[in-house]
C-alpha cells in the first residue's frame, strides 16, 4: 500500500501511452447527475471519501437493511399486474403464484385511480385498460378469491383513490374471515410524487396529505404488518429524473410524510418502521447499484438527524424496485429481455427487498402470458441458477461502487438541502421546483438520444430493418365496461340506501371538519356497499378536485441540440412554412382519458416549441370533445395525441368523428406513445395521419408533421 501513489502514476503513464498523448483524465466522464465518473478508482479514492460501509443490518445500512440478506431468503418476486375484470386478474394471479411468484401487486385501471366508477362518462376509454377495474368491495372479493389474505402479502399501487381502495381491501379480507392485524402488504399512498409526475391525484395537496396521515394512523393502530406508504422515486425516473434527482426527491418526500405524521401526534417509532420505498432501476448499472446503497445510508442519517427515533428499524430503508419501463423499446423488443436482466441484476446487487421485472413487450402493450413468464423467470434464474444470492452485498468494498455510492449520496444531500431551504417538499412542489428539474432532465436526455450522444440499440443505432410483429394482449374495453356497469347497478339495487347515504355523509362531514379518521369511516361505508366512486365523491364534495397548474419549460431541448445540422434544417423548414402560411405551424399536444403520464407530451411540447411550432398544451384528462373544442378554437393545424394507456382505440376515432361534425376535418391528427403495431392500420383507417412509437427521433417527427400538414392543404 505504501507505493500506492507511484502505482497510480504508473497506471496513468500506461494509459497515456495507449491514448497516444491524451491525458488519462480525458477518460473520465461527466454523469447526468453532475459528478465525475472516474476511469479508475483505487483505495485512495475510498479513503479520501472517508467511506466505511460497515456491516449489513447495522447503521447506516449501506450494505443492506438485514444482516443475512439473500443468503437466508432471497428478495420477494413481486410482479405488478392487473387488467380487465377482477375475474380475469384473479385467474392471472393464481397462475403466477403457482409458478414461483411470492407476492401480489395489483395494478388498477385509471378510472379507479382517479376515483371514478366504471359507469362514469369521463372514463369510457379507460375501464379495464392498463389495470383492473374495481368499483366496489364485490370486485375486490372476486380479485382475491381463493387467495388467503392472511398469508399473501399484497401490494397495491394506489394514491388518488387510496381511501376507498384500502377500505375495499380491508372489508374483502373481513368477509374472507381475516382480521386487519393479520394483513400484510403495502399501499403506495404516495401522493406527493403524483403532483410532480404521474398525475393520478384527485384532491388538492393539503387535503391529500390528510388522507396519507389518516392511513398511517389507521395502519399503525390496526395493521401492524402492513406498510402504510411506499415512497416512490420510480415514476420520477420514468418521467426523466436522473439518479440523483430521483434519490433526493424521494427521500425528501419521505421526510415530509414523517413530519406530517409526527405533527399529527404520532410517535415516530409507531410508524417509521412501516415506511417502505420504491425505486426504478435503469440501464446505468453501477450508478443504480450505488443508488440503492446511497439511499439506505442517507435515509438512516437523515432520520437520525431530524427525528431521533429510538427504534433502529425506524432508520432502516426497505425498498421495492422495478426495472425501468422507459428503457424498453418498441423496436426489436426481444432486446428488452436483456435490458431487464441487467437492470434486475443492478437491483439485486444494490440489495432490494422485492422486485418487479418488466415484460419485454411493455413498450408496446400489456404483457401477454409468454412475456409475463419470461419476466418472472428472469428473477427465478438469478435467484436459483446463479451464485449471486450466496454472498451478502458482493460488490461492497469495490473502490468504484463505494466511491460512487458516496458521491451520489453527497449530490442528493445537496438537492435535499435546497428543498429544505424552500420549506420542505410540499412547498417545493407548490412552487413547481421538482417538476421543473425533472422535465429539464428529460428534455436534455431526449435531445441526447435524438442527437445520437446516447445510444439505444435498435432505436438510434444498430437498427433492425425488418421487424417481426409481436403478439399482444388486447382488452375488449367496451365488454369490460358493460359488465362492470351491470355489477354496479346490481349492488346499488340490493343495498340499504339510507344506511349507505348516512355513511357517505359522515365521510363528507369528517372531510369538512378535519375530525375523525377518514379510512375508518370509509371502511364502514364500504361494509354498507358504497362504491369506490361514491366514496371519492363524498370527499370531493368537501374538497373539490385538484387542477394542476401546468408549466412547460422552453429552451432546454435546443440548448443541447442547436449545433446539430439536422436540427438547423428542421428549424429552417419550419421557418419557411411560417413564411408561406403567415403563421407558425400550430399543434395541440393532448392527453385524453385518465392517463396522467405526461413525460412524452411534455418532451414533445418543449422540443416542438424550441424548433418553431406554436404549441398548445391541453389539460390532462381531456375527453375527445374537450380536445376537439380546444383544437378548433385555437385553430391548430394538427393535434398530437399522446397515449400510453391503451385508450387510443376508443378515444382517437371519437376525436376524428367530432372534428368532422364540427367541419374541422382539415385538422390533422398524429399519435404518439405506446401503440402496438397491430393497431396502426386501425388508426390510419380512423383518420390518423402519422404514428410515432417510442424512440422516435423528434426532429424527424416534426418534419413529417410539416409534410402531413402540407399534404392536407394540397
Amino acid at each position: 500500500m505504501s507505493d500506492n501513489s507511484s502505482g497510480k502514476e504508473n497506471w496513468k503513464k500506461g494509459v497515456e501511452k495507449l491514448l497516444k498523448g491524451d491525458k488519462a483524465e480525458s477518460l473520465n466522464r461527466q454523469s447526468p447527475e453532475g459528478f465525475e465518473i472516474q476511469a479508475l478508482y483505487d483505495s485512495e479514492d475510498v479513503s479520501n471519501r472517508n467511506v466505511d460501509p460497515g456491516y449489513p443490518g447495522e447503521f447506516p445500512f449501506t450494505r443492506g437493511p438485514y444482516s443475512s440478506m439473500y443468503t437466508q431468503r432471497p428478495w420477494t418476486i413481486r410482479q405488478y399486474a392487473g387488467f380487465s375484470t377482477a375475474e380475469e386478474s384473479n385467474k392471472f394471479y393464481r397462475q403466477a403464484l403457482e409458478k414461483g411468484q411470492k407476492g401480489l401487486s395489483v395494478a388498477f385501471d385509471l378510472a379507479t385511480h382517479r376515483g371514478y366508477d366504471s359507469d362514469h362518462p369521463r372514463v369510457v376509454g379507460d375501464v379495464g385498460k392498463a389495470g383492473v377495474a374495481i368499483d366496489s368491495v364485490e370486485d375486490m372479493k372476486i380479485l382475491f378469491d381463493g387467495i388467503p389474505l392472511d398469508k399473501m402479502s399484497v401490494s397495491m399501487t394506489m394514491n388518488g383513490a387510496v381511501i376507498p381502495i384500502m377500505a375495499a381491501y380491508i372489508v374483502a379480507a373481513e368477509e374472507q374471515g381475516v382480521s386487519t392485524e393479520k394483513l400484510s402488504g403495502t399501499i403506495q399512498n404516495d401522493i406527493l410524487k403524483e403532483f410532480m409526475v404521474r398525475n393520478t391525484y384527485i384532491y388538492p395537496p393539503q387535503e391529500s396529505m390528510r388522507l396519507v396521515s389518516d392511513i398511517i394512523e389507521y395502519t399503525s393502530e390496526k395493521m401492524p404488518r402492513f406498510n402504510s406508504i411506499s415512497i416512490s422515486g420510480y415514476h420520477m425516473q420514468e418521467a426523466g429524473a436522473d439518479s440523483a434527482l430521483e434519490l433526493a426527491f424521494t427521500l425528501a418526500d419521505g421526510l415530509e410524510y414523517v413530519k406530517t405524521a409526527v405533527e399529527s401526534g404520532l410517535d415516530v417509532d409507531a410508524f417509521a418502521p412501516r415506511l417502505s420505498f420504491f425505486f426504478a432501476i435503469g440501464m446505468n448499472f453501477l450508478m443504480e447499484v450505488s443508488k440503492l446503497r446511497a439511499a439506505r445510508t442517507l435515509w438512516a442519517e437523515l432520520m437520525k438527524e431530524h427525528f431521533e427515533p429510538k427504534n433502529q428499524k425506524s432508520l432502516m430503508l426497505r425498498t421495492h424496485c422495478q426495472t425501468s419501463g422507459w428503457s424498453l423499446t418498441a423496436q426489436d423488443p426481444l432486446n428488452n429481455v436483456v435490458r431487464t436482466t441487467i437492470e434486475a441484476m443492478a437491483a439485486v446487487l444494490g440489495g432490494t427487498q422485492s422486485l418487479h421485472t418488466n415484460s419485454y413487450d411493455e413498450a408496446i402493450s400489456l404483457p401477454t402470458e409468454t412475456s409475463s413468464r419470461i419476466a418472472r423467470n428472469t428473477q427465478t434464474i438469478i435467484q436459483e441458477e446463479t451464485d449471486i444470492t450466496h454472498t451478502v452485498d458482493p460488490l461492497g468494498g469495490s473502490y468504484a461502487i463505494e466511491s460512487m455510492t458516496h458521491d451520489l449520496k453527497e449530490k442528493a444531500k445537496t438537492i435535499i438541502n435546497e428543498v429544505m431551504e424552500m420549506g420542505g417538499m410540499a412547498k417545493a412542489i407548490e412552487e413547481g421546483y421538482p417538476k421543473r428539474k425533472i422535465e429539464e432532465s428529460a428534455a436534455i436526455k431526449q435531445a441526447g438520444i435524438d442527437k445520437g450522444d446516447i445510444t439505444i440499440v435498435g432505436v438510434n443505432k444498430y437498427v433492425n430493418e425488418k421487424e417481426d410483429p409481436v403478439d399482444i394482449l388486447d382488452i375488449d374495453n367496451t365488454g369490460v365496461r358493460d359488465g362492470q356497469v351491470d355489477l354496479i347497478d346490481e349492488i346499488k339495487a340490493k343495498r340499504d340506501k339510507v344506511a349507505t347515504k348516512e355513511a357517505l355523509l359522515a365521510i363528507t362531514e369528517a372531510a369538512r371538519s378535519g375530525e375523525g379518521n377518514i379510512l375508518d369511516l370509509a371502511v364502514e361505508a364500504t361494509r354498507r356497499r358504497a362504491t369506490v366512486g361514491e366514496i371519492s365523491t363524498a370527499l370531493e364534495q368537501a374538497w373539490g378536485r385538484h387542477t394542476a397548474t401546468n408549466q412547460t419549460i422552453k429552451g432546454v431541448y435546443e440548448s443541447v441540440y442547436k449545433s446539430d445540422k439536422g436540427y438547423q434544417e428542421i428549424k429552417s423548414k419550419i421557418d419557411a412554412f411560417s413564411e408561406e402560411e403567415g403563421r407558425r405551424p400550430r399543434i395541440l399536444v393532448v392527453k385524453m382519458g385518465q392517463d396522467g403520464h405526461d413525460r412524452g407530451a411534455k418532451v414533445v411540447a418543449t422540443a416542438f416549441a424550441d424548433m418553431g411550432f406554436d404549441v398548445d398544451v391541453g389539460p390532462l384528462f381531456s375527453t375527445p370533445e374537450e380536445a376537439a373544442k380546444q383544437a378548433i378554437e385555437n385553430d391548430v393545424h394538427v393535434i398530437g395525441v399522446s397515449t400510453l394507456a391503451a385508450g387510443h382505440k376508443t378515444l382517437i376515432p371519437d376525436l376524428v368523428k367530432i372534428l368532422k361534425k364540427e367541419e374541422a376535418g382539415d385538422i390533422i391528427i398524429v399519435a404518439g406513445g405506446v401503440i402496438p403495431v397491430q393497431d396502426y392500420d386501425f388508426l390510419y383507417e380512423a383518420g390518423v395521419s402519422a404514428i410515432f412509437g417510442p424512440g422516435t427521433n423528434i426532429p424527424k417527427a416534426a418534419s413529417k408533421v410539416i409534410d402531413e400538414i402540407r399534404a392536407k392543404k394540397a
Binding site: T547, N550, A605, K629, E633, N634
Partner: protein
C-alpha cells in the same frame, strides 16, 4: 372557405369560423391582412357587450380567476370569450400556450370561447390583433370579452386602451409598501382585486385593501365621480367572485349613466385610428428600399461626423416627405 362564408359563419356564432377568422387577423401575410379588414367590415355588430381587461403578475392567479368568473357569467346566461395575450413569449421561434390547462372547466363549456395567442412576429403588434379578435368575438355573439394579459412590458397599457373596465389582480402580501405595483399602472386601474384571500391569507388580504385604498386616495380619479373599487376574492375557493362581477357591472352602469361608456369607446376608436396611421407611416417609411438606402447613407455620414443628426433627419424627410 370564401370570405362571405366565413363572415356568415362568424355571425351565426360558429366556433370553427370564428377561430379561422381570428387566424386571418393574426396572419403575418399582407394579403391576409386585406381580407381580414374586409371580413371585419362585413361582420361589425352593434351588439351590447362588456370588455374587461384582466392583468396581474405571473402567479397571481389570473387564469383561476377567469375560470371562476367565466363560469359564473355562463350560469347567468351569458356567453364569454377569453383572449389571452402573453407578451413574455419570445420574439423568435415558437411558443408554448398552456393557458387552457388552467381553465379546465371553463374551456369545456359550450358558452365559452378561449383563444390564447402567440405574439411572435405579428404585424401591428399585440394590440391590433387583440382589438380585432375582440370585434370578431362580439360579432359571433359573445356578451363579455375578457382580455387576459401578463403584467409585463407595455401590454397592460395596450389592453387598458381597448377595454371598458380594467381590472388588476394582486396578491395578499404585495400590499407591503405598494412594491407590487408598477409605475403608471395605478392611473389605469378601475377595479383592484386581491386574489388568494383564503385561509391564513384572508386577514393579510384585508390589510392590503386598506393600504391600497389609502394610496389610491391621493390619486386624481380616472373618471370624475367614479373611484377605483377594491375587493378580496379567492378564485380557487370561488369566494366573492359574484361580488367581483357585481362591481364590474356597477362600474359599467356608472360609466353609462354619466355618458362616458359610449364616448370612451368612440375615443378608443379614434386613438386607434391615429395609432394605425402612425404605425403604417413608420412601416412604410422604414420599409421602402430607397428609404432604407438613403437612411443607411446618412447613418454612415453621421458616424463619420460629416453631418449632424438634425441635418440628416431633415435631409431624409425632405427627400421622402412628398410620398
Amino acid at each position: 372557405m370564401t370570405i362571405d362564408e366565413l363572415a356568415k359563419g362568424v355571425q351565426e356564432g360558429k366556433r370553427r369560423h370564428l377561430a379561422k377568422a381570428i387566424t386571418l387577423v393574426e396572419s403575418n401575410r399582407e394579403a391576409d391582412q386585406q381580407t381580414a379588414q374586409d371580413l371585419i367590415s362585413k361582420v361589425r355588430s352593434a351588439k351590447e357587450t362588456i370588455r374587461v381587461g384582466i392583468s396581474g403578475v405571473p402567479g397571481v392567479g389570473k387564469s383561476t380567476f377567469i375560470e371562476a368568473l367565466g363560469n359564473l357569467l355562463i350560469e347567468e346566461g351569458l356567453k364569454v370569450a377569453v383572449l389571452a395575450v402573453d407578451p413574455s413569449s419570445p420574439a423568435t421561434g415558437g411558443s408554448i400556450l398552456g393557458d387552457k390547462t388552467r381553465m379546465e372547466t371553463l374551456s369545456s363549456k359550450d358558452e365559452a370561447f378561449i383563444r390564447p395567442s402567440p405574439t411572435s412576429g405579428t404585424l401591428g403588434g399585440v394590440a391590433k390583433r387583440t382589438r380585432e379578435s375582440m370585434m370578431l368575438c362580439e360579432a359571433a355573439g359573445y356578451d363579455v370579452i375578457l382580455v387576459e394579459t401578463v403584467g409585463v412590458g407595455q401590454s397592460e397599457f395596450e389592453v387598458a386602451s381597448m377595454v371598458d373596465c380594467f381590472l388588476v389582480l394582486m396578491l395578499p402580501g404585495a400590499g407591503d409598501s405598494l412594491q407590487g405595483i408598477k409605475r403608471g399602472i395605478m392611473e389605469i386601474i378601475d377595479i383592484l382585486v386581491i386574489n388568494k384571500a383564503d385561509g391564513d391569507q384572508e386577514k393579510m388580504a384585508k390589510n392590503a385593501v386598506t393600504e391600497y385604498q389609502n394610496a389610491f386616495h391621493l390619486l386624481t380619479p380616472k373618471y370624475d365621480g367614479i373611484g377605483v373599487d377594491f375587493l378580496t376574492v379567492s378564485s380557487i375557493k370561488k369566494k366573492r367572485i359574484d361580488e367581483a362581477w357585481e362591481k364590474i357591472q356597477g362600474f359599467i352602469s356608472a360609466l353609462k349613466e354619466k355618458g362616458i361608456f359610449e364616448a370612451q369607446r368612440k375615443e378608443q376608436e379614434l386613438n386607434w385610428f391615429k395609432r394605425l396611421v402612425e404605425d403604417e407611416v413608420l412601416r412604410r417609411l422604414w420599409g421602402s428600399e430607397t428609404n432604407k438606402e438613403k437612411a443607411a447613407e446618412l447613418v454612415e455620414q453621421i458616424k463619420k461626423g460629416e453631418i449632424t443628426p438634425v441635418k440628416a433627419a431633415y435631409d431624409f424627410l425632405s427627400s421622402e416627405i412628398s410620398r
